[in-house]
């Protein structure tokens, strides 16, 4: 998986976001075993302690679970992944509406434009 980290925000928060994005987009599938902390850290070129912290946080919210003997797995709870997907979609739409506001489109105008493009394809 492609890791893209900017340098201004705490790294572990960005790692959480990227792993979540990976789960949503299907790079990590439900029930998949995750690589070891060290391998993940090496792949993302980040500190293993930071990766550990990100994974602990994902464990806390239930997206990842640890098996004492065989490592860490992505949750098999599809409902939870669907919920995460829904949240992520919502965030992106809100974000999009905000950005449209910046270039002078009211939410209604944005909606009309979106509807138009979805119905008639982009021209």
């Amino acid at each position: 998986m492609q890791w893209e980290l900017d340098s201004e925000r705490p790294v572990y928060i960005q790692l959480i976001e990227q792993i979540q994005a990976g789960i949503i987009s299907g790079v990590f599938k439900p029930g998949d075993k995750l690589p070891s902390v060290r391998d993940l850290a090496a792949e993302a070129t980040v500190n293993p302690n930071t990766m550990q912290k990100a994974l602990s946080e994902l464990e806390r919210i239930g997206l990842v679970y640890a098996n004492r003997t065989s490592g860490r797995f992505i949750t098999s709870d599809e409902g939870m992944i669907a919920k995460l997907k829904g949240e992520s979609a919502k965030e992106q739409v809100i974000d999009f509406i905000e950005r449209m506001k910046l270039i002078g489109f009211s939410p209604e105008e944005t909606l009309a434009l979106v509807t138009d493009i979805v119905r008639n394809g982009k021209r």
Binding site: S7, E8, P10, R38, A41, A42, V46, N49
Partner: protein, 232 residues
């Protein structure tokens, strides 16, 4: 267990200049720590003192509670800026050499890493490019299960692909409870892998902090902070 590195009022003077002046610094185990400062700030002097290649003018330096000597050299794995492997040696000779002198050296791991680079162990050092020599040295140094790794400018002057290779090799091989001390002036390239940073300026330590603290408290990257602190 004592701290892996402890400096008290550490001072090193050369005939014409003071390279380190009254440094007080304690490094804990299990961290990756950046020793950051511009060229000539005292980074290499610090690392040479840790490795017993220099003797302090005053003050003390303790590695695992002991003054640098035969005992500490057993647990410190050092990558100098120099290419220090004799020209005439084959890569396999260098592995045998490390295996003979360092009980914590893992030959199997070293050979695996060489295989991954498609390097033939029967090649002589003098036939390798400078970049490849540096990779061989890094592989040897990181194949030890040391308590303290001292890497002096490991990514100075290499291309981004080689830089990623070097950082990956460090992250995937260092011993879990060991501390890795990386000296560099190229902070942006390396700050993601650091737990802590030590800023060194004109021979004195001006900051020792965790990277996370810098990002949350100052709201800026270590690189940005470094540029502010060391502005010319």
């Amino acid at each position: 267990m004592s701290a892996i590195l402890e400096c008290k009022s550490l001072t090193k003077k050369f005939t014409t200049l003071t390279a380190l002046s009254n440094v007080n610094l304690t490094l804990e185990r299990g961290r990756i720590i950046g020793l950051l400062g511009p060229n000539g700030s005292g980074k290499t002097t610090m690392i040479k003192l840790i490795n017993g290649l220099l003797v302090p003018t005053s003050g003390t330096i303790l590695v695992d509670g002991k003054a640098p000597g035969t005992d500490t050299k057993k647990i410190v794995s050092y990558l100098p800026e120099k290419t220090y492997l004799p020209d005439w040696m084959k890569i396999s000779d260098t592995i045998e050499f490390f295996h003979d002198f360092y009980p914590d050296f893992d030959s199997k791991r070293a050979n695996e890493m060489l295989d991954r680079l498609h390097l033939d162990a029967s090649r002589r050092m003098k036939t390798l490019s400078k970049g490849t020599k540096e990779k061989v040295q890094l592989i040897l140094v990181m194949s030890r299960n040391a308590d303290l790794y001292c890497l002096d400018e490991p990514i100075g002057g290499v291309d981004p692909a080689a830089r990623d290779y070097i950082l990956n090799t460090i992250i995937s091989n260092y011993n879990e409870n060991a501390t890795v001390l990386i000296s560099t002036h190229l902070i942006a390239d390396i700050e993601k892998v650091l737990d802590e940073v030590v800023f060194i300026k004109d021979g004195t330590v001006t900051l020792h902090s965790s990277v996370e603290d810098i990002r949350t408290k100052e709201g800026k990257s270590v690189d940005t902070l470094f540029r502010e602190v060391f502005k010319c």
